[in-house]
Symmetry: C2
DNA sequence: CGGAATCCTATCGGATACTG
DNA sequence: CAGTATCCGATAGGATTCCG
């Protein structure tokens, strides 16, 4: 009875895993935008986003530097990603006045907060990749 | 010069952040399927997936139980998600022989490996949600 | 240099209806 | 109960071309 789920949904008494859902914000039955998990997911959403973030974690970059670091990423998609990141306050962009224009994309403090997430993605992904001993599960079956 | 990036890409000497990219598998310039980060991302990819995983983390569920727990999730999408998870060896499905048919979706050991990821998503998402003190960044600008 | 504009295809996810 | 089948609108994201 240790991991029993008393999830009699139609009727009160719902227990939540304190590790997965520590606060009320996570007690959702739909992918609502204000659920912390959704917030984090949308921060890294979109193809190439984690790679762009990885480069920026390393230090500020100009548009072209990012293009050089990720040659297969098209200008349009890079601009899309960058705009999304700026929109969410994860990155700031500074531009020089002169010509040719120079840009400087840089993580904000909030953007830096994504570091542990990238780290965990890597760790968990590594664990999944190396261990194809799938099939059986020691879950808490009754 | 502590966090300088000696990323002279066109020419050798690339340094990698040992925390973000500890192994060769992550030294990629594109979203390749075998990069650990991509492996983890594809494990949780798709709308509703993290919610389905959350329920399964709590214990095995039948198809209908999942539908009750996530009422706004359509049968089609739930089936899609479940199939994807089974395909990747994160979940197993058992069915009773009799009638009516009963199912039992359960996380595998690999599926359980996603727990720390869900936890981190929640934590990082919470940090982002509560701290809109965006703008300035104490990054390692030169 | 640093993009924006346009176009085009693939896939996603939701609604609805039906089946073993 | 546990799905499948079909349809369909909305994006995502890549290629290409042009602009300040």
């Amino acid at each position: 009875m240790t991991t029993e789920h008393a999830r009699l949904v139609g009727h009160q008494t719902e227990t939540w895993d304190a590790q997965l859902v520590p606060t009320d914000r996570g007690r959702v039955r739909q992918p609502t935008p204000d659920c912390p998990v959704e917030v984090a997911l949308s921060a890294i959403s979109g193809r190439w986003t984690t790679l762009v973030l990885r480069e920026l974690m390393h230090g500020p970059c100009s548009f072209s530097e990012l293009r050089d670091l990720l040659p297969a990423l098209s200008a349009k998609v890079l601009a899309d990603r960058l705009h999304g990141l700026v929109e969410r306050g994860l990155v700031v962009c500074e531009r020089t006045a002169g010509f040719p224009v120079r840009t400087r994309y840089q993580l904000t403090a909030r953007g830096q907060a994504l570091r542990p997430l990238l780290k965990t993605l890597y760790e968990v992904g590594s664990a999944l990749a190396e261990g194809p001993e799938a099939i059986d599960s020691p879950c808490g079956g009754e």
